[in-house]
């Protein structure tokens, strides 16, 4: 039975148990004479919890443990020659054996019966290929019996799992049902279960962070075992060469500096444009605009924040980039007489400009919130002393709001650094190290996308470098975010 069917069966048992429990509990009330502690619906939920929770937990444990047990069994019986080889070869060999084993379960019964321990691997491969399952060329004859072992073990493991899990669900339902009695504190127990579920749900946030850190950490460590960290962090040339897995050829150079420079440069250009515009817009809306203007302009600006970044990327690619290129051609034509464009269609300026459009609403709505949260008394005091509004803003409100605004800018910067789709389409892929904003540069995010789209194998530095880049990106943005949130927290306390 497939895992999905097993889950459905368990849920059905739980439902049936709940129904029976409900009836049982209703029947209980009258003759017993004592007032029952819990209402029937809690008794029903109690039975259902006993039926569903232990069996699904067992199912999860089984699904995780079974492949691990099978793998260690099979690896134990690898021939000596393979065990003597490197860990990598052993992993590859196990991958092939596993895919052979998985393929066996797809074969129809009559073909499956012809497969024996002595069958040469190329006959088996032919059978599998007929079913649309390619087999790696590195397969060898000794793998066939092991594949058969895997298939048998998987079959029995699945059968045993089905039986045990369903039996446990039935037993749980029975146990819960038997316990139904007027004095049973079913409500408290069910509420305990609910609370447990709530805690589990809120710990998913932590699990996600742990997942992010660990998933990238392992691959990053793997990467640094092949390429030294010094070469990565201080290298100035980015030129990964694609080579097959396991080959010892030159993997190319993975210099991180050009990517970091591009990322920071593009973000800086974007911030340089977005911050003044966003900040002035926020000041105007918080201090000058009447309610009607505010209620029209604020949502309109926030539309910019709701537009997906891929749309900005496309806008940069087909409108802004060509426009800047043609504009520069006109300018150089007027100045020098030579109509050669000095701004490339994909350039730091294009990407920065379009990213700035995306960032304006972030800056403005974050700063707007902060400026409006400055206490009215400060404003009144300053105006009462005869300051004009702009003087109040410059001398009183902005200094008071400064920590908040700084944290808003940090959050915006972190957003700019992590932005992907705009730079993928507008910044170019050439890892240049230049200070000319009219040239193409590339960013960390562009290279993550470039290294991970298309065919990939998980054990070449060309793929693993993406995780090292991602880890670096995560650490940079994490520092910015945590520091910004820390400032916001302190600032909030100040005015509360």
């Amino acid at each position: 039975m497939s895992t999905f069917t097993i889950i459905l069966v368990v849920l059905a048992i739980g439902l049936a148990g709940a129904f029976l429990g409900y009836r049982h509990s209703r029947a209980l009330q009258a003759p017993a004479g004592v007032k029952p502690h819990s209402r029937p619906v809690y008794h029903a939920s109690y039975v259902a919890s006993w039926a569903i929770i232990p069996s699904l937990l067992l199912l999860a444990v089984w699904l995780i443990a079974s492949p691990i047990v099978i793998e260690s069994q099979v690896r134990g019986s690898f021939p000596e020659g393979v065990l003597a080889e490197s860990q990598l070869t052993e992993d590859l060999a196990y991958g092939i054996v596993e895919s052979l084993g998985n393929g066996l379960s797809v074969l129809p019964d009559d073909e499956r019966a012809t497969v024996t321990d002595e069958m040469p691997v190329k006959d088996l491969a032919a059978l599998l290929r007929n079913r649309g399952l390619p087999v790696a060329s590195a397969s060898a004859d000794w793998m066939v019996p092991l594949a058969l072992d895997i298939d048998t073990m998987q079959f029995w493991s699945r059968l045993a799992m089905t039986v045990v899990v369903i039996a446990l669900a039935l037993a749980g339902a029975y146990w819960g049902y038997r316990q139904i009695a007027p004095r049973l504190r079913a409500r408290n127990k069910v509420e305990g279960v609910v609370k447990g579920a709530l805690i589990a749900a809120s710990s998913i946030a932590i699990m996600t962070t742990i997942g992010i850190v660990f998933s990238m950490l392992f691959e990053t460590i793997d990467f640094f075992s092949r390429i030294s960290p010094a070469e990565f962090f201080f290298g100035t040339v980015w030129e990964p060469r694609f080579s097959a897995a396991g080959s010892t050829g030159n993997a190319g150079s993975f210099g991180f500096i050009p990517l970091l420079a591009g990322t920071l440069y593009i973000s800086a250009v974007a911030m340089l444009i977005a911050v003044p515009i966003g900040l002035f817009a926020a000041i105007y809306m918080a201090e000058y605009a009447d309610n009607r203007t505010r209620s029209v302009v604020k949502p309109l600006l926030e539309v910019l924040a709701g537009i997906p970044t891929i749309v900005y990327g496309f806008f940069a690619l087909v409108t802004v980039g060509p426009f800047l290129r043609d504009l520069s051609a006109q300018i150089s034509g007027i100045v020098t007489g030579d109509y050669a464009s000095f701004i490339q269609a994909q350039s730091v300026l294009t990407a920065g400009l379009v990213m700035a459009i995306m960032l304006i609403p972030f800056v403005s709505s974050l700063s707007d919130d902060i400026i409006t949260s400055v206490p009215q008394s400060l404003r009144d005091g300053s105006l009462g002393l005869g300051a004009t509004r702009s003087e109040t803003v410059k001398r009183v409100i902005l200094p008071a709001a400064l920590p908040g605004i700084v944290s808003a800018l940090l959050l915006t910067a972190s957003r700019a650094i992590g932005e992907t789709m705009i730079v993928v389409l507008a910044a170019g892929v050439a890892a240049n190290l230049t200070i000319n904003p009219f040239d193409a540069m590339t960013t960390i995010t562009v290279k993550i996308v470039a290294q991970l789209t298309g065919d990939l194998e998980f054990n070449s530095p060309q793929t693993l470098v993406a995780f090292a880049l991602g880890m670096t990106l995560f650490v940079i943005t994490l520092c910015l975010n945590v520091y910004a949130l820390y400032i916001v927290r302190k600032y909030k306390e100040q005015y509360e």
Partner: protein
């Protein structure tokens, strides 16, 4: 007051002491400048919005129309075989030379001699190679059509389509544009016969991936995005609400809950591409889920949407006044009963609004989906969320990388569709907020 007036009368204009210059004019000028900066900043922001939208819409609205040519097609037995043969074996029908039928029909329509190779090939360039599928489906659905002649609307090639929409500069020499003078002549002829028309482009919504612009559509992408939204809704809403209830109503103030809070706020600001790396490493590499599947995309987007939903739900729960809780507790309800029977229903509109906004964000997200392999050429509809599919924004990304002129139009059209979906979702959220929001 009277003193002041008296003094004012007494002092003549010449005697009045010049007022000390406190720079009031300068200060007011600075004030006006400062205000003007604000207006300019807002104007720039709004101008960007207008430019963005006009650029996309002006490039994309034509994508909703597609040029089609009405061609009299003779379904000859010479090409297709007899209906009796077709009943026995479908291979002949599947492999038949349908483009020839279309070409013959067009040649007849234009009145070209079939021996004029150059003219025939020019005429053939006007119709899409996608006609094969159109005609095949017609014949396969109704075998009795064989041997008859029928007028069929066929898709025009993307070059003809672009020419009809005025996207080519026809004043440049013939060899520098994708459409020849002869073809232009044919177009005029077809126009005068009323056999060429721009019709609503249903294919844009139904077709899957294709390398030809006129038969490329968003069907698979829309289905893929739909599956992902379902998964996000089914996972992120219950988990997000549960987490918010715990944090807002039960959680004691301690290190653990503090850690969760910091985590949620931080996750909301983690770059989306990092979630893609997580999905690739955990869901695909570790759990062994299939690449390109909407299931994996949905899981990744769920993790990204959770912080948004949690933050919105907590705000909604906080907005329910404590008096409601006290009343319920006072009547003997347990804490769980209080929350599930009273607080949660009252907070529901706010939760729903937050969820819709979270879903809208998830719908427009591209970067993480690129990493989990949703950049795939998928021509067939996925039957389940485990089968390969693309998503709307990813399809836009893929089309944006196509060089052909007709794809720019399609991409813009796809963006208009995506933005329309987002606008509907956000307007629903605003409507719900206005309709059900309660001030206590």
């Amino acid at each position: 007051m009277s003193d002041a007036t008296a003094n004012g009368i007494a002092a003549t204009a010449a005697e009045r002491k010049p007022r000390r210059d406190i720079g009031i004019g300068r200060r007011y000028a600075a004030e006006r400048r400062f205000k003007a900066y604000g207006i300019i900043a807002i104007a720039i922001g709004l101008a960007f919005l207008v430019m963005l939208l006009t650029s996309i819409i002006s490039k994309g609205y034509t994508a909703f129309w597609q040029t089609e040519i009405k061609v009299p097609i003779t379904f000859t037995e010479k090409v297709l075989g007899t209906p009796e043969q077709a009943v026995k074996s479908q291979t002949k029908l599947l492999m038949a030379n349908y483009p020839q039928l279309a070409r013959d029909g067009l040649v007849q329509l234009l009145g070209i001699s079939a021996d004029d190779k150059k003219a025939v090939s020019a005429a053939n360039g006007l119709i899409s190679s996608g006609t094969r599928v159109t005609l095949r489906d017609m014949v396969m659905n109704d075998l009795s059509i064989i041997g008859t002649t029928e007028d069929v609307w066929l898709y025009a090639s993307s070059e003809l389509d672009s020419a009809m929409k005025g996207q080519y500069d026809l004043s440049v020499p013939e060899n520098r544009r994708p459409i020849s003078d002869l073809q232009l002549e044919y177009i005029d002829k077809l126009k005068s016969q009323g056999a060429i028309e721009e019709r609503f482009n249903w294919g844009l919504f139904t077709f899957g991936a294709s390398s030809r612009a006129e038969t490329a559509g968003l069907g698979v992408a829309i289905i893929g995005s739909f599956y992902m939204m379902l998964i996000v809704l089914a996972l992120a809403l219950p988990i997000g609400v549960a987490a918010s209830i715990y944090l807002e109503e039960f959680a004691p103030k301690n290190k653990f809950t503090d850690l969760i809070e910091v985590n949620i706020n931080n996750l909301a600001a983690v770059p989306s591409i990092v979630f893609g790396l997580l999905g690739l490493a955990v869901f695909i590499n570790w759990f062994g889920l299939p690449r390109s599947a909407p299931l994996v995309g949905g899981l990744v987007l769920t993790l990204m949407t959770l912080p948004t939903i949690i933050i919105a739900t907590r705000a909604a729960l906080r907005a329910v006044p404590p008096s409601i809780r006290w009343a319920a507790l006072g009547l003997g309800a347990s804490r769980t009963q209080t929350i599930f029977h009273h607080v949660l229903p009252l907070a529901a509109p706010g939760i729903l609004t937050g969820t819709i906004i979270g879903l809208a964000q998830a719908l427009g997200e591209t970067a993480p989906l690129l990493l989990i392999g949703m950049v795939a050429f998928v021509a067939d509809y996925p039957a389940t969320p485990m089968e390969p599919a693309t998503a709307l924004p990813v399809q836009i990304y893929m089309w944006a990388n196509e060089a052909e002129r007709a794809f720019v139009e399609r991409t813009s059209g796809a963006i208009i569709i995506l933005l329309a979906f987002l606008a509907i979702m956000n307007l629903t959220a605003i409507f719900l907020r206005r309709r059900f929001e309660r001030r206590w």
